[in-house]
Amino acid sequence: MTVLLSVLRRPAGAFGLIWIGLLAVAAIVSTFWTPFDPLRTDPGKAWLLPFTDGHVLGTDRIGHDQFSQLLVGARETMVVAVCAALVAAVVGLLLGLLAALGPGWVSGPAVGLIDVLIAFPTLLLAMVLAAVYGSSLGTVVVAIGTGFGVAVARVARAEIASVRGSDYVLAARVGGAGTARIIRRHVLPNIAPTLIVQLSLVMALAVLVEAALTYLGYGSSPSSPSWGGMLHEQQAHIAARPLLVIWPGLAVALTVLAFNLLGDALREATDPRLAR
């Protein structure tokens, strides 16, 4: 609770938290209510400008209500961002711990795996997985989660190694603490601020990659509206109707920014050394 309040006290944090909060509300509300059916086509209402006939953001060439589509698109964006961050956290922590604290025959291969997977572009990994296992939300989440998870693992490994070499870990061992206790009490709390920033970055990048994938046609099915899908849909008419590209583009950009700012604010709020 105090963490949320201290995030809200910072302008950047407040913006991030409020925007993400609005998206979460939009994602939930859109499951049972949208101003119009996002998939309803009505040639009679094509190319409407914003604020005509109740279409807040206007309609596209076949009469899709853009605001409704944005609301439903928030659902996929949020699900992918959160799930990908969870996968990345698990992958990053496990690989990072193994690479930093494991015995030689574990840490060597773990470091190698991190280096190899980092060299592999996440977008490409997602496209390959989608090609092999069919494009679905699950594939997208796994691809983004592991792709960015190894980047998290590399940062986590360095952080864990520096905590392990610290005097206070030596002091804890002098006090009789075992490895599990040291990981729980000393390693995890001390890498948490870095991890929070990394994971917020993963969420921001996940939003971008998810939009890129659906834009390229590798995301979820075209029947469920998404921001990337909207961009794909409207790109042919970008010169005539630039607004229709701006809405989903703006949504992606603001969400990426919001996740980054929220991550920074969370790090500052959870680190007692930075407390005011």
Binding site: S166, D167, Y168, L170, A171, A172, R173, V174, G175, G176, A177, G178, R181, R185, H186, P189, N190, D271, P272, R273
Partner: protein, 261 residues
């Protein structure tokens, strides 16, 4: 009955022999000073006693605590001894405490995980321990994070944490080197009093004869990993038997002279 017996301790890291055949014994409640310049092997000797040498270090010889061999003992067994029988005070109080954990909790932690007290009782005991080491308003201090305390206060916390479980042996590795001169004197007096009250045996590691003279009567002079001289502090001070000891003495005199000037 001997508490700690170190016989022919040799520690090598990466082919270099850093502690070379060190032997000494310590009775319960007895105090011993380990003196030597940096690189003389004094800190490694302490870490060897705790079984916390860096990975890749090779140890030969024997270290017995209460007649029990510690060299080659498994980490789980050693963990059970560390904190409860053996404890250590570090040189840098600021880095020896977890920056993200309230200091009271860091004092309480070993009491709880050795199963001596419940979490709640350990927390209460930690406040008592902080009072024992002379920290003002211990209940409030227990809730502070390390960055909110001064170096001297942090070293008091470090001493409280080390003595929490009433260890039989306390290793103090240059506990005053990182502190102001006035605070040094306070910390030395505190160590002196607490070790006396608890009947704890003390191995005091330093490079400073003047500091050592305040806490220990018996001294072991180390140089390049070897024991150069051993004996009562008075006789070593009066008639240093080794060139190296004389150098240390001169350095100490020069330092105290500078301090007075």
């Amino acid at each position: 009955m001997t508490l700690l017996a170190v016989r022919d301790l040799t520690v090598g890291i990466g082919g270099a022999v850093l502690v070379d055949g060190v032997s000494f014994t310590l009775d319960p409640g007895e105090r011993l000073g380990l003196i030597g310049e940096s690189g003389s092997g004094k800190s490694l000797t302490a870490l060897a006693v705790l079984g916390l040498l860096p990975a890749g270090a090779t140890v030969t010889g024997s270290i017995t605590l209460d007649g029990r061999e510690l060299v080659g003992l498994g980490d789980r067994r050693l963990s059970a001894l560390r904190g409860r029988k053996l404890a250590m005070v570090f040189q840098e109080p600021r880095t020896a405490l977890n920056p993200l954990m309230r200091v009271g909790r860091q004092v309480a932690e070993p009491l709880h995980h050795h199963g001596l007290l419940t979490r709640r009782a350990a927390r209460t005991r930690a406040v008592d321990l902080l009072a024992d080491v002379g920290l003002p308003d211990p209940a409030h201090t227990a809730r502070a994070y390390p960055h909110q305390l001064s170096g001297g206060q942090l070293q008091r916390v470090g001493i409280a944490a080390a003595l929490a479980c009433g260890p039989a042996l306390l290793l103090a590795d240059e506990p005053t080197t990182a502190l102001d001169v006035t605070v040094q004197a306070e910390i030395l007096a505190l160590l002196d009093r607490l070790v006396d009250e608890h009947g704890t045996a003390l191995v005091f590691i330093t490079h400073d004869m003047a500091v050592l003279a305040r806490v220990a009567r018996r001294v072991l002079v180390l140089g390049k990993g070897k024991v150069l001289e051993e004996g009562e502090l008075d006789s070593v001070l009066r008639a240093p038997g080794h060139e190296y000891t004389r150098t240390l003495l001169t350095a100490a005199r020069a330092a105290s002279f500078r301090r007075e000037a």
